[in-house]
Point group: C2
Amino acid sequence: MSSRAATQVFQMVEEQIATGQLKDGEKLDEATLAERFNVSRTPVREALLQLVGSGLARQIPKRGCFVKSPSLREMIEMFEVMAELEGMCARLAARRMTEDQLNLLKKANVGCEQAITDGDSDLYYDKNVDFHECIYDACGNQFLANEARRLRRRLRSFRRLQLRVRGRMSQSLSEHSEIINAIENGLAEQAEIISRQHVMIQGERFNDLLAHMEPTP
Amino acid sequence: MSSRAATQVFQMVEEQIATGQLKDGEKLDEATLAERFNVSRTPVREALLQLVGSGLARQIPKRGCFVKSPSLREMIEMFEVMAELEGMCARLAARRMTEDQLNLLKKANVGCEQAITDGDSDLYYDKNVDFHECIYDACGNQFLANEARRLRRRLRSFRRLQLRVRGRMSQSLSEHSEIINAIENGLAEQAEIISRQHVMIQGERFNDLLAHMEPTP
DNA sequence: CATCTTCTTTTCGTATACGATAATTTGAAT
DNA sequence: ATTCAAATTATCGTATACGAAAAGAAGATG
């Protein structure tokens, strides 16, 4: 827990964007935010700078700072890259994972099963993060792992949503099993392909969800 | 050209880190930098924040901000990811590149040839950027293109250096020809593999260079 | 009604000041 | 010499103020 006002503002705004409280195009006024969080403009500016840096907001000179939700196209693009990174992690992990790490991976997957039993998609999301964290750890490339985490974070609200599609959780779980199997047998190529697909499917499911919700704006 | 002091400070410091004027571990003192650039702490802080954000500096609380050059290991990791991203760009470009874009790609490669004729490795670096920009443009995934650019930027000083290895430029050029060939014929997989290798080789060459220069520190 | 010209208001970037807290040094006591 | 405590200094985050520049509004002129 950082006691810095700037960090808190950043996290709050980020959260509000993720949960939809702050919608696309909405103005992020320095003065208003400062008042809302009872701080001065300085930490607010710092937060906005980071927001822009991480792509959640857009700065239009002399006009202000605005929430920037990714368009459907950008979403698909991000999922495409995410799929590649996850695939790469799995490929490397298949070569490099130790016995201990494999056990942790299996354990994480049991957590996912439990979440399904409880029918709790938010819990599944968390357990799923654990599962993929195991793979990140085992890929032996910290830089890659961090990039993957960064992007995962950026996509998290959409990934959460996507899990609500009927049957998606159990499908995800069976994909996990295939991934474990491939890694366990050192089938790097296969682990990569399945993992990549595992993410791409999420993009597609999300796409379905959108199409269902908004009949072309 | 941005007239903002903060941006200028950022770019200057970034440049000085890239050129080695500012070395690993060196302290980035807010007051000193402010004086050096004749600005107040505010824009300097902003610049440092971005520096940390892009991984070029590290912040140790109550100790200060320090230049953070990547370790050899981190370098290799970054090259590994760069290779994957470039490979992905090439794979997609092979499927999606238009005739016009292909012509631009070929033209860019002629520029590379010229740079070799002139024996100018810095020029080659620039022309090589043009070459790869063509591929980025044609990959049809802007988000991916931006990620690739970001990482390329981060690695540029090392990539520059690596081109000084004897024969590396002409080897690079022949790899380009193979890439063009694969793309022209829509051989996505092959374009990916060659491009990936094209980058990995750079990492290895750079590694050689390092091993030659510093006999294990 | 359109257009051009003030005038006012926002937005922005920067400068500067201040208090809090952590790091470092100094110096005393064992 | 070592250890501990107090004093000093540096760093940091934040608040606030100010001027420049641009956007937007209001009003004048054709």
